[in-house]
């Protein structure tokens, strides 16, 4: 097990006259992973990123990056961290080239036009290098922000809602670029409220709500542990009651005895195997069916379920 690249302990942030945005957050990020921080709006995702990147002053707790305490050795650590903010904040009158050259210098790197060209080409921005940023489309502006964040070759990159307001095609394109960064060994922490994005990209997922981390786990493990399979079986003839061999499965009879609904499994194949066994049992019992609709729960179902449970508990 590698040392975490970023380690957060007891991080708390209370805004002046405001709510507690972060409440005793503990989090470890492993080198080379893509970590997705999921949460509804106002959950504390951006505050968490801000606290690591120096935009927010934490009220309490410690942050260690690359083994260095950010409160003391912030210079060394920050030189290795990149940030793509949520808002499209760029100097609109600057050209793309000057904007990224500025970022490279600001982070203490020598001017390296070859590297800047490489970055712009990888983000399909090379032919826009002399354009003023204000003349670019929203998606391109976001890529300029990514190029700025990459100009100093960070080892740890924060992407705050990288695909917010981006169309589907561009979003997929962005996912490929993020995957390419991971290939190059960059550790990526992304916040999103598009669960699909986390499902597609992340190695691990953290769920945050009301400034508290509710759960952190491998995406697969989380889906196995919390995922379910749902199968809806339309019966050929209504049933008054379920035979014992069918009632042994996690099933419910509904719609006047014409629909049998299965809910169970682990979302990673276990449920599907059980549904297959259920259909065989139905056949053995002489119960006919006309259609079968089966689906595994997505990360989104898990996420919504988890937040729902939390809201009920509160």
């Amino acid at each position: 097990m590698h040392e975490p690249i970023l380690s957060i302990r007891g991080l708390t942030k209370t805004y002046k006259n405001g709510p507690r945005a972060l409440d005793n957050v503990d989090l470890d990020i492993r080198p080379g992973e893509i970590f997705a921080l999921l949460g509804p709006n106002g959950a504390g995702k951006t505050t968490l990123i801000g606290a690591v990147c120096g935009l927010v002053r934490p009220t309490g707790g410690t942050i260690t990056a690359f083994g260095q305490d950010l409160a003391k050795d912030w210079r060394k650590a920050r030189a290795r961290i990149g940030l793509v903010p949520q808002e499209l904040s760029t100097d609109m009158f600057e050209t793309v080239w000057r904007a990224i050259a500025y970022s490279q210098g600001l982070f203490g790197k020598p001017y390296d036009p070859a590297r800047l060209e490489e970055i712009l080409r990888s983000l399909s921005l090379w032919d826009k290098k002399d354009a003023q940023i204000r003349a670019l489309s929203g998606g391109m502006k976001r890529r300029v922000l990514i190029a700025k964040a990459l100009a100093h070759d960070p080892e740890l990159l924060f992407l705050d809602e990288p695909t917010a307001g981006v169309d589907v095609e561009l979003r997929k394109d962005m996912w490929q670029q993020i995957a390419a960064l991971k290939e190059r060994g960059v550790t990526i922490i992304l916040t999103t409220h598009y669960i699909e994005e986390a499902e597609e990209m992340a190695d691990r997922v953290g769920i945050i709500q009301g400034g508290r981390i509710l759960m952190v786990d491998e995406k697969r493990a989380m889906m196995e542990r919390l995922g379910t399979t749902e199968a809806v079986i339309d019966l050929a003839a209504p049933l008054a009651a379920l035979p014992a061999e069918i009632a042994a499965f996690p099933v419910e009879l509904g719609a006047g005895g014409t629909v049998l609904t299965y809910r169970g499994g682990n979302g990673q194949g276990g449920g599907r195997a059980q549904v297959a066994a259920l259909t065989q049992a139905l056949t053995r019992a002489g119960i006919g069916y006309t259609s079968l609709d089966i689906h595994d729960s997505s990360l989104e179902d898990i996420f919504v379920g988890l937040l729902g449970q939390k809201a009920e508990a509160a």
Partner: protein
């Protein structure tokens, strides 16, 4: 103390580029305003005026007019330079960079001092079209212009961090600096004021700046040059200290 020269240079270059991008506002507007002052006060009215402290009136007002433009432009430019990134959100990059107060100030203030020097050169070249003058201590004058530009850039920087609206950004240069410069001996010698106004005028710190610059031009001044120099340096130190505290506490920069 660690100092990242590349970061400071990046900020310096960006600030200079911003000035050249807005050359009309940064350079042409002050040239036009100064020209108008010279036409009205230097050539037309100045021709009817007695020399002041042995200096022809048209030449006498040059240091004051230069100071008037320099203070206004430097303060506005620096305050705008830090207020706009706060307003648009681009400040995130500066705050997340491995950059401390030293690099930020060297970048911002160095650019302001350079711009001040360029502005002064342009104003003096413009003045040459209207009146004849000689500069007694040109190197000292250049140093003093840079010192004043640096000090007021720092002051503007504080202003840009303090302001939370465009209105506040304009209030200090317009309602305080300009009137104080007008009343600070730009168009007259404070010594010529009747008592007790001559003493009251010295409560105006800008009078010391105008007097100091005038000394570098003509070797004559209302207050000793050492006092002007000391006051400017003192102001610079106070501004640097305030900014150091702002960076340490994150006031209006970090939430």
């Amino acid at each position: 103390m660690y100092f990242n020269a590349r970061s400071a240079y990046a900020i310096y270059r960006r600030e200079m580029a911003r000035a050249f991008r807005t050359a009309f506002q940064s350079i042409l507007a002050p040239v036009l305003t100064t020209s108008l002052y010279f036409v009205v006060f230097g050539s037309v009215i100045g021709a009817r005026m007695e020399p002041v402290a042995g200096v022809p009136y048209g030449a006498f007002i040059i240091p004051g007019l230069l100071m008037l433009t320099l203070l206004g432009e430097t303060t506005s430019n620096a305050s705008f330079g830090i207020y706009m990134p706060r307003f648009t959100g681009t400040i995130y990059e500066l705050l997340s960079a491995p950059v401390g107060v030293a690099e930020t100030l060297v970048g911002f203030v160095g650019a302001a001092a350079t711009k001040g020097l360029i502005l002064a050169a342009i104003i003096l070249a413009t003045a040459r079209l209207f009146v004849d003058y000689e500069i007694a201590y040109p190197l000292f004058a250049a140093f003093y212009v840079m010192l004043v530009a640096a000090s007021f850039a720092l002051f503007g920087f504080i202003l840009g961090i303090w302001a939370d609206s465009f209105e506040k950004l304009g209030v200090i240069p317009m309602l305080i600096l300009t009137p104080l410069t007008f009343l600070g001996g730009t168009f007259y010698s404070i010594r010529d004021l009747p008592g007790p106004w001559d003493a009251i005028a010295l409560a105006n710190p800008i009078a010391f700046l105008v007097s100091g610059l005038r000394w570098t031009f003509y070797g004559t001044s209302d207050v000793p040059i050492a006092l002007s120099l000391g006051l400017t340096l003192g102001f610079l130190v106070v501004c640097v200290s305030v900014i150091a505290v702002i960076f340490r506490t994150g006031w209006r920069l970090r939430e």
